[in-house]
Symmetry: none
Subunit: 407 residues, 2 copies
Amino acid sequence: MSLIVQKYGGTSVRDIERIRAVATRAAATRAAGNEVVVVVSAMSGETSRLLALAQELTPEPDQRECDVLASSGEQVTSALLAIALRSGGCPATSFQGHQIRIATDSAFGRARIKSIDTARIRAALADGQVVVVPGFQGVDPGGNVTTLGRGGSDTSAVALAAALEAAACEILTDVDGVYTSDPRICPRARKIDRISYDEMLELASLGTKVLQIRSVEFAKRYHVPIHVRSSFNDTQGTWVVEEESSMEDVEVSGVASDREAKVTVHRVPDQPGLAAAIFGPIADANISVDMIIQNVSADGMTDMTFTVPRSDLAQALRIVRATADTIGAGHVDATETVAKVSIVGLGMRSHAGVAARMFRTLADHRINIQMISTSEIKISIVIDDKFEELAVRALSDALVGTREEPA
Amino acid sequence: MSLIVQKYGGTSVRDIERIRAVATRAAATRAAGNEVVVVVSAMSGETSRLLALAQELTPEPDQRECDVLASSGEQVTSALLAIALRSGGCPATSFQGHQIRIATDSAFGRARIKSIDTARIRAALADGQVVVVPGFQGVDPGGNVTTLGRGGSDTSAVALAAALEAAACEILTDVDGVYTSDPRICPRARKIDRISYDEMLELASLGTKVLQIRSVEFAKRYHVPIHVRSSFNDTQGTWVVEEESSMEDVEVSGVASDREAKVTVHRVPDQPGLAAAIFGPIADANISVDMIIQNVSADGMTDMTFTVPRSDLAQALRIVRATADTIGAGHVDATETVAKVSIVGLGMRSHAGVAARMFRTLADHRINIQMISTSEIKISIVIDDKFEELAVRALSDALVGTREEPA
């Protein structure tokens, strides 16, 4: 008997018909001899609807109360799924975050899970129940309701799988798995059978929406195998697992892209502490800076370029322009029309020349590279966003290899 | 400084504008030098919307899970109201049922409050906060979410007022107070200034929707003065208080009516224990039986008639038919088209002939009486529901007296 944690996202529970289908699937997993814990998101659109009500009251609603508000969405789905399971003859019980003490810190809106009290879940499983848990929510040391931030239900599921030492954490979604690139952009994209945590982390951080990055970090730390698969069929999806020796045979396992905005501060005096002066205030405003490029200086001056989410550009510019005045830097300019395109693969570690082939492929398509940044298993470039689709397709065709599932 | 508990019903919080208005009123009550605890219902229609989702899944959804589902409605309102208060500069905090341990029994869907842990509320009040509490919900000894049944937010408010020894429990609603009869039926209905707990109990049990009956029981037991008033203006409403000597001057203070269903079990053997055999299983199914009539028997057989809420008729019939077979009773029949009309007044105790005048009034209007039941301060009759409005108007005009507010 295996213990399986299944997580269903908002589109998989978006109406009563879908919830019934989820119940059927969870009950079948139990009938096949498994212990089953199901983690559910809010019905799609519900979290946004609730937070829009708060926004109607005030542009900056109190975060503690927003967590009370938003967590109700998952609470509703968990109760409905338990009702659906029971009405189909499958014993089931929902447990809210305060009932199984999904203990988090007190960072309302983006809390982190510290521990989960599994005693009550284990007792219910031993009693033959399917246990239904609302994702996204927890309680802090003071008993206040907290939420984990958008996409937090993935993290809830992986954390539960870790705490229960589950055989697998299934992430059931509206796609078949993780693809070598976005199938909407690249029709020849292929489903990846197995991928390492590190590769998945890079892909998640690069804008692949299929898994929330914190859930992958959690899975890696606690060795939880994740199975990303479709909630609409039984075909195998993508396993996210520990690195396997054969994985390095493939140089590039995926291509990801994301639209961003780029900011350049010109003629920054090349002195210690100025990078901190520029990025400190941006971090304080909770704007996440992605790529940062600083090249060697000339005449004691250097240019500093970085990318931010487009929605944060206006605020970032305001902050950076104030800083530039203070530190005696030159003018600040920005463009909203850039895209970051990245290739990811464990094989890059051992295969030379991947970067060269990437740049050659882009040159062949007359795509100008504005910025370059690399890590051990990733190369990211920033280009004009009108070339985004062309670049993704060209790089997929030229570089992405296939990885056979090990026997 | 007084401690005031204010309860706002679903129509008073039905949209963002109304929630803002509630925040303004609660903040003004605090600004006037009071400590304020606000109890809120779900936004109007929300509880029904949620339970309809469960009904879509199955006609008899699991009750424990329905409580998890339905309690989310009040949770949402409590968070929104706290956000509204804070955005208007009034310190406020919401506490859910599990955070202040509104301890109930485990009768899901109709739980009874046992105790409330007021320490956290008192600390927040001492800190200058308006405390917002979702009505209708609690937790049982196992930490499961419970609800108090429809209208339970009134009970939550009175229970909080009792636990906190509040100066008053204000029930803010969309009517000006308690009327001598339903103004929609009877245009000459008048607002009652002061009414005793016992009269209010009878009126509430008779279908007057303005206060939930259990909240009145609670208020009577713990001597909590209730002030039923409009949430839209500042005029005095109806005070529900201890009995005052002048109250007996009025024979009939109110007329109430309610639509019910009637079940008759024919030819029940007239033996000890058979009433228990019939009503035990109905009680076990948590169906509340209202009137029960058993007349003297003939030939060792008797007929037994009772009324139930229309929504429970199908289930009650199924249960009673099974019982009738077991105990060798005759056939069971039922009608859904009856109304109960009642007159209530402390003055009935000391004034003779009220019943005779009631029956004479009905006879004058050619309304046939199907059942009669009386208590010390109430007379109820069951009639065909097509005569409901006529009976209420006729009895109001003929019998209801006025009560002046004591100087």
